[in-house]
């Protein structure tokens, strides 16, 4: 029966008609548990897959396990029930205020979220209480094309069980799909005191790694992050997860490094404006404070642009006389009052290039996909040199176009 379920979504309607009969047949002979299992399997296909009006405009290269090489990277959110998986996906991808996540109901079926931004990717939010390695499940279908598995552990709860399940999952994956990155989010750390948080985090890493080395996997690709939806740490963690899926990352980092060096930039980030995930930064040490500053800065720009970027009627009086209509890519600069303080520089990159075509919904102008370069300028970089910096950023932009041809 699995083979019939693997049909492409276009045939879904006919498929569900066909399903009537085997379903009834099963109910006569199968125990109830089998039925539930069947429902999950159906859900996997029936789950809302957001309509994708725009085909992915380009891809960032071959995915680890992809056969065709042009699928969307898929991120799997898994973990114990009530560990915060749905909350994470709502906060990160739907911009839900963290306080509202209290009202999210338990996930009973697989939820698929599609993210249209610089990089198209899909997030699958799984119910916590289902065992996916049950032979009845089509593991191949689930794990075949994923880029990363995100395992969420509730740091405020008993995590021994969660680690056991994680261990089982990793072992299973290691056998069949060794290229999948396993990312462990030690979640809800906001509720723990600093010391206790460090202890818990270290304890979890220790346990997982001990278990794995006992099973003979010394260097399994498992990374750990401390996250919370009440601050920016969840975005930072997602940024790092996504970065691993971008094959051009070393090139981007090298470009940013040379930009930083030539312009005396303290820290440069390449942000995806829509999701506020950064896809690359220079290789100097990162500080969550810098990230938050940049992320808040994007908010300011987006909000002001919304207020004054409204659609003016064509042919505004006097508008035609400005032959030069300014730069299409927005740029912004903040200088601080106190001498010696850092200032911020923002430049939108490839906005025009990645603008959605007319056919796509243009109702929300923010839906256009683009990157922004945000730089925290160093202390000795004076604002007078802005023209030089502009030029250098222009060169950087050119280089970026070569890295990401359309």
């Amino acid at each position: 029966m699995n083979s019939s379920l693997l049909t492409i979504p276009a045939r879904r309607r006919r498929l569900s008609d066909e399903m009537e009969d085997p379903d009834e047949g099963l109910s006569r002979f199968q125990p109830a548990a089998r039925l539930t299992m069947l429902r999950y399997l159906q859900d996997l296909h029936e789950a809302e897959t957001p309509l994708d009006a725009v085909p992915p405009q380009y891809h960032t290269g071959r995915l680890p396990n992809s056969k065709s090489g042009d699928g969307k990277p898929r991120l799997l959110l898994m973990g114990q029930r009530r560990s915060g998986k749905s909350s994470i996906s709502s906060v990160v991808f739907h911009k839900l205020p963290p306080s509202e996540t209290l009202y999210i109901e338990a996930t009973t079926r697989v939820k698929k979220e599609s993210m249209h931004s610089f990089m198209d990717f899909q997030v699958w939010d799984f119910p916590g209480h289902v065992d996916y390695f049950d032979p009845a499940f089509d593991t191949e279908n689930i794990f075949e094309e994923i880029g990363a598995l995100i395992w969420v552990i509730d740091a405020q709860d008993e995590y021994i069980d969660a680690i056991m399940r994680l261990h089982k999952t990793i072992l299973n994956l290691q056998q069949h799909y060794p290229a999948i990155n396993v990312e462990v989010f030690v979640h809800k750390v906001d509720g723990l005191s600093d010391d206790f948080r460090q202890d818990t985090f270290r304890d979890i890493i220790q346990r997982v790694q001990d278990d794995l080395s006992d099973a003979g996997f010394e260097n399994a690709p498992v990374s750990f992050y401390q996250t919370s939806i009440y601050d920016h740490s969840i975005f930072e963690a997602f940024s790092k997860v996504i970065q691993k899926l971008i094959p051009q990352l070393p090139t981007l980092e090298a470009l940013l490094n040379s930009l930083c060096l030539s312009c005396r930039i303290e820290k440069a980030y390449l942000f995806d404006v829509l999701s506020k995930i950064y896809i690359a930064t220079d290789t100097s040490p990162t500080d969550i404070g810098n990230y938050e500053l940049c992320s808040d800065y994007i908010d300011v720009i987006v909000d002001v642009s919304e207020i004054y970027g409204w659609d003016r009627p064509e042919g505004e009086a006097g508008e035609e006389e400005y032959g030069e209509s300014g730069n299409q890519d927005a740029e912004s600069l903040i200088t601080m009052e106190k001498k010696g303080n850092n200032y911020l520089y923002l430049r939108e990159i490839n906005k025009s290039v990645f603008q959605r075509p007319e056919s796509a919904s243009m109702a929300d102008p923010k839906q256009s996909r683009y990157l922004a370069l945000i730089c925290l300028m160093g202390e000795d970089s004076s604002a007078e040199k802005k023209a030089l910096i502009d030029y250098n950023v222009g060169v950087f932009q050119e280089a970026l176009k070569q890295v990401f041809p359309r």
């Binding site: 300011v300 004054y308 740029e331």
Partner: protein, 340 residues
């Protein structure tokens, strides 16, 4: 000389039932608090005074009056002349969630009576607060009902009292306070005339003058097409955006919030150009101009050159004609009155 002195000090009373949110809103507007931090605030004991320097020559003397019955009793009896004398503005805060609304209104009438006795020329603003706790579709109706009822109890101030629905969780708080501040600025008309001239010279779509520590708008000038901007609440929104940005700056760079001011902020896009720069000691000017580098650069220079004239306005305090006002109106409606 004495009148000039008094003109500078404007006494503002902040009153209302205990727990209505008086100190919370004061902390957010004037002391760089974030909305979620106000739960740390304790009850106000007696009166807390604060002086806020505003627009150079305007000094707000804010009396945050504790709202517990014992204190109110005291204000109305022993300290009656002390508290209610020479008041420029009374801000009375009602809690929309209050269970004894009728009792609140009786309290309010007592205070109004004392006010009309001691400073009959004062202006009264009513803030109906914590509106976020009411369901969105009921808000307007409930607000109108309450406002009518309170107006009925306003006695001598019946015709001049202004109502605002507020909440610390959105920009409505900034809207109400912008109106209050606008009422208090002694030379608003001359500032507006000057701003209008400046806008003509630099060909700006819109100029917004705002106070730098509170981010409250002082006044604005809008020209041409920009009047049709669908975001009619943009001034409050910009106040709110700038305030948030300021807090984020101070949080992540370790500069105290009071001094985390930017010297200049520019945003250039294909559709508009926007920049904020310092105008006088206490004010910043935000300008939205057409997307053109020439206009942008010229505008910056011109604003730089216009600074001394605005600084002059700051010091020269001309008493404001008492009749002038119509405080509920948007500031732009008053440009015509400037010649008077």
């Amino acid at each position: 000389m004495n009148s000039v002195k008094r003109q500078k000090q404007r006494k503002v009373l902040l009153m209302g039932k205990s727990g209505a949110g008086k100190t919370s809103m004061r902390s957010i507007v004037f002391s760089n608090y974030v909305a979620k931090d106000v739960r740390r605030l304790g009850a106000t004991i007696d009166v807390e005074h604060s002086n806020i320097k505003f627009m150079g020559n305007l000094m707000l003397n804010l009396w945050d009056c504790g709202g517990q019955d014992g204190f109110v009793e005291n204000y109305l009896t022993h300290q009656r002349t002390h508290v209610f004398g020479s008041v420029a503005v009374l801000i009375f805060v009602f809690d929309i969630e209050s269970r004894e609304f009728a009792a609140d209104v009786i309290n309010y009438s007592n205070i109004i009576r004392a006010l009309s006795e001691c400073s009959p020329n004062a202006k009264v603003f009513i803030l109906i607060h914590k509106m976020d706790l009411v369901q969105t579709r009921l808000r307007d109706q409930l607000f109108a009902e309450r406002a009518d009822y309170i107006r009925g109890a306003s006695e001598g101030f019946k015709d001049s009292v202004d109502f605002f629905a507020t909440s610390i969780w959105d920009q409505s708080l900034y809207r109400a306070w912008t109106m209050i501040i606008y009422h208090l600025i002694p030379n608003a008309a001359s500032i507006e005339t000057l701003l209008q001239q400046l806008a003509e010279v630099i060909d700006a779509r819109e100029l917004i003058l705002y106070e730098r520590t509170t981010c409250l708008m002082v006044t604005h000038v809008t020209r041409g097409m920009e009047n049709e901007n669908p975001y009619t609440d943009r001034f409050e929104r910009i106040s709110s955006i700038l305030k948030t940005h300021k807090q984020s700056m101070s949080k992540h760079t370790g500069i105290p919030a009071g001094t985390a001011n930017f010297a200049e902020m520019q945003i250039k896009t294909g559709r508009f150009m926007f920049f904020i720069t310092r105008l006088t000691e206490n004010t910043n000017l935000a300008a939205s101009i057409p997307p053109s580098e020439q206009i942008f650069n010229a505008a910056r220079i011109n604003i730089l050159l216009a600074r001394p004239r605005f600084a002059e306005l700051d010091i020269a305090s001309r008493p404001r004609a008492p009749a002038e006002g119509g405080q509920g109106q948007p500031p732009s409606a008053q440009i015509g009155a400037a010649e008077a």
